[in-house]
Symmetry: D3
Subunit: 249 residues, 6 copies
């Protein structure tokens, strides 16, 4: 099957040359994928450099829609929204006619609920929009708390050892507050790839939303399932058009 | 005080000449306002003609942000998002530094919860995104049901008598299912201005979200309250800029 | 419009002469009201001096009912129950035939839910009955906590500086526990009129229930809405009587 | 142990002579009690003839408080509030220093939750206040529905066969809607004493709140438990008085 | 009435001779019972020595079923599952045709919800399965917290003074976290019989699940109620057999 | 990776010779698996023929535990409990030291919550225990309803066309009641393998719990995740033993 990881911003421009972050992420995704999965990581010339506010969530949607149009045209099986806020997930699922759309946050949090009783989220500021998304998914009673790493998304990778130590400390506090599963609430944290080590150190599963979103996409494609069109109906105005590409043009 | 009702699309272009829908709405708003309120209705050259999907929600946000920038520059006290889905409400509240941002849906549903026990919503298709917004507001236990008027938003006003009869029939069904308050879940329904008559006919309050959003804006400005910046924090990247206008440019 | 703030006890007798607390509160209410609102504060020769228990809640209801009878006779548009527990709100709404009945607690807490994600309440002892009222309003999942000022309602105003400092400290603790909006859970706190200053100092909205109850009454009258008679039905036995006054005599 | 069933109204005046309803109820209670329980049914010269509205709930509280004062003076072990709305339960529990206060509705609904999954309530109009009390007890997710017998409380006993048939039909509808336990939501229904027969006919437990309130009072006294004074604290002003009788005088 | 307390393991073998723990528990139960209640405590040659995991919960069910078969044969009115996890309660209620089956945990937690607002549980490790049982009973919103006594169930009685001090300290912490009622979450704690003393010391009811399960069994038998067969249906395959004994053979 | 599907009963004895149901199921599982997954279906000489009651749930646990011991000894990566009730899932997860334990019901219901808003379950009698399991997973607010196929688990496959028609009719009713995703709540329904066809016919995803449990096992193994040992702690008594096999012997 073919899966695309969609970064709704100019990641290659932000990390040029030998520090090709997009290629690095694609390589990691390939290592995590099933043998029959072909996974690609794509970025966009449009969209914000990083997504750290609801405003940037919205800014990223047009780029995601264009990438979905291309994915549907190319018969890609599933796309993963490359941001933990799952920006535009409702819109993309309404628009998609053949392609499965997966969000890292919803995938990771529902998985957390199946392997534990109460989960904690470790994120960078600000937790308020994450809290609202948890409510919209009706998972607030399973939430033990949100731990914040005081940093900027764009500098998390500058000092990996310190970021790792901050995440571990936040995880310990959340476990003390009753969490029995932890979720990394940021894709830049996810691709630092230290979740398996931290799981062992903390004695509780640490969920990497990039890995889990990929595996959830594989699960849906393999089981022949897709988001419900009763829950994400095709837009009324699109029904008279000939194609998704025509509608969003 | 000064309040603006923001239509994030080309309403004047859609309803030109003698059928100036924007002017009609502004006139209604002025009739509903307090004596010391100066209310204006504005539309945008950008944005969709109507909002009937999550995709169109996102399309409307850039127009709303530009209108917010102008409102802040002009010291407007409050702006009302002119769509029942409250598109972009989180983003606008994060960006706003002085202006109170009000959403019709959240205002109407929380008011419903204060004057009754269980509310029903009457809307045009599709109810799935409204249901998710209710969950995000944690009001799902107060929801008696959602009644759908099978029509298009753009044609609701073509046959007002029929629309009115459909709304009344939907309201009767929701009351039979346990609703004791009804909410009109669409701004085009709201501006048909038949809510007071329907309240009397149905024996239950019928909440007009346009009236209530205006009155909620007045309430917030008069009491000196605004959405919490702890819940809607200013975007990290914006903190280093000189102004909202510079940040969103 | 005409609104009455009903103190269900002998406030003028408790604060006689130059310290006319009732007149002081009426003056504040007038300052907070819209230009077309005529607001009066009334007290009662019956009822308790202050309301600090469920027993005193009940003791205050006959006085409130008599004041409602007079309000209906005089075509008052709305009455506000002058106690944060909203004593008798269900009874008064059932009895009222024309007058809108507003409770400060329900108004303030539902408003808190529209401008933030989780609210904290600052009150004087005891929080147990407030907690039950929050449950009855199904707002317990939005509650971050209740902070208690160890004082007596009747002595809050004796040392305003200390009361203010206690409220501020309680607010800081509630914010640390996750509250992003604060509610003053006592009318004697509300009329100390320091909410706007505290909002600025704490960086989170501090809701004054007196202001918000007044503004909610204005909102309901202006939008032509009233509590649902399906939720607050006229008592069966009253249906055969000629008037509210006759029924409650 | 000694238990009193408190009717907060003039039941003997309403049912005089050979039709002594109070004596009939006391006789039934004695038949239901444990051998070491001495149970009495008392009425009051004050209070409403029946309680069919929130206003009448409040009217009944002063009579209940006077009866509680007498019960505490006479070292009665527990009192039962003789109305399904549990009027004044919070106030009485706050005031009581030695006597256990039991409400039929709370007792019956929590028992329903322990012997089934979802319960239905059968009551006379109006269900809105019952629904709010269910919410305050946080049992709304266990509620399958409320079935209403269109009658007056005062005439339920005039045609017992018809009342019984109406209750049975309401029970069948609630079972079809998913209830697996039924609760009689009115004391006048309870004392018609047909719950055991209906349980057998409907194939689901039909809870008689009079029986269950009595048995819950016995349970609490026998286990040495009482309502928590942290949840129902003694009124602040009462702490300086010498006795409950002095405080409520 | 006749009630049996069922220990699903070899208690007499574990505590032989003069330290007959089973006889000690039966004696306590007799002291707690109503005068017309004949209560026996029984153990089983099968089943685990103590129940401290979900695996041991399952191991105890065959013994409980055999004891239920004997109880039904002997016309016992009610049986109490002698473990706080209520192991096998659903199975036993499905199988029982005449005998009322009571679980200590469900009885104690629902009673806690009727005499307070938020309860805390004091248990020995591990709280995760107790938390899931609370969720299954939909009582999680009434839970203030779970306090853990770091000990083994089998050694709780070796140093009663220390166990008592640990329970008291855990209770104080739970009250500080908002609990107004406490529940002893282990039968070996319950039979140390210090709940009444601790209630007085802590100023909050401390619920002994052994006492409350016994009293709940008495309540159900006296009121003629039993767990709903709609909620706990007789197994399909059993319907064609002649008896419970035949089915489980 | 190596995954085992564990049938806790004598399936081969029940379906002997040419009608080898176990082999048929294994063949289907192999067709659904990823290319690097080696999946086996095993049954047990112990355990019930089918699981249609809570009693049979418990009867199946010893067989499952023995199969888990063998799986751990053989370094199997994950085991799937071959019954929709997820019998013994807590116990198996507590006991497992290396092997991931997956339950079909929890996997299917949490996936339903990620691809829709409200799900319906189609099962054979009786729904009460499924409802309690949904509550324990805190998914009751996402449940639209449970549709029951009046049949026996053992005869579902005798007339596949009729079973299929019954499932489809139940699905249509659940969609009319608001479900946007459907879950087949029985493994014998799942292995009839008509879910993909029904998804197309009903216009809503129909989740096959066998497929989804397999894919969830693959997801967990591939992402290196396992159920939390904080949520499913190793039994206290087992900590002193040398192995799982020794402990359960």
């Amino acid at each position: 099957m073919r899966i695309q990881y969609l970064v709704p911003g100019p990641m290659r421009r932000a990390h040029p040359g030998e520090h090709d972050e997009l290629a690095r992420r694609e390589k990691l995704l390939r290592g995590w994928a099933a043998p029959d999965t072909e996974v690609r990581a794509l970025d966009s010339t449009d969209g914000p450099l990083s997504i750290e506010s609801s405003y940037e969530d919205h800014l990223s949607v047009p780029a995601l829609v264009q990438m979905l149009v291309a994915a549907e045209r190319d018969d890609v099986d599933a796309v993963i929204i490359g941001c933990y806020d799952d920006p535009g997930i409702d819109a993309l699922r309404e628009l998609a006619q053949r392609t499965v759309v997966v969000g890292p946050a919803a995938s990771a949090m529902h998985l957390a609920a199946t392997i534990g009783t109460r989960f904690g989220i470790i994120t960078v500021p600000e937790p308020a929009s994450i809290r609202r998304y948890i409510n919209a998914n009706r998972l607030d009673q399973q939430l033990a708390g949100i731990g914040v790493i005081r940093s900027s998304v764009l500098t998390l990778a500058d000092d990996v050892a310190r970021t790792r130590a901050d995440v571990r400390a936040a995880g310990e506090r959340l476990i003390a507050d009753g969490a029995d599963v932890l979720v990394l609430g940021c894709m830049s944290l996810a691709f630092l790839d230290f979740d398996t080590e931290l799981s062992a150190e903390l004695g509780a599963p640490v969920i990497n939303p990039a890995k889990v979103a990929l595996a959830t996409a594989e699960l849906l494609v393999r089981t022949g399932l897709a988001p419900s069109k009763l829950a994400y109906p095709t837009p009324t105005k699109m029904r008279g058009t000939t194609s998704l590409a025509e509608f969003v043009a």
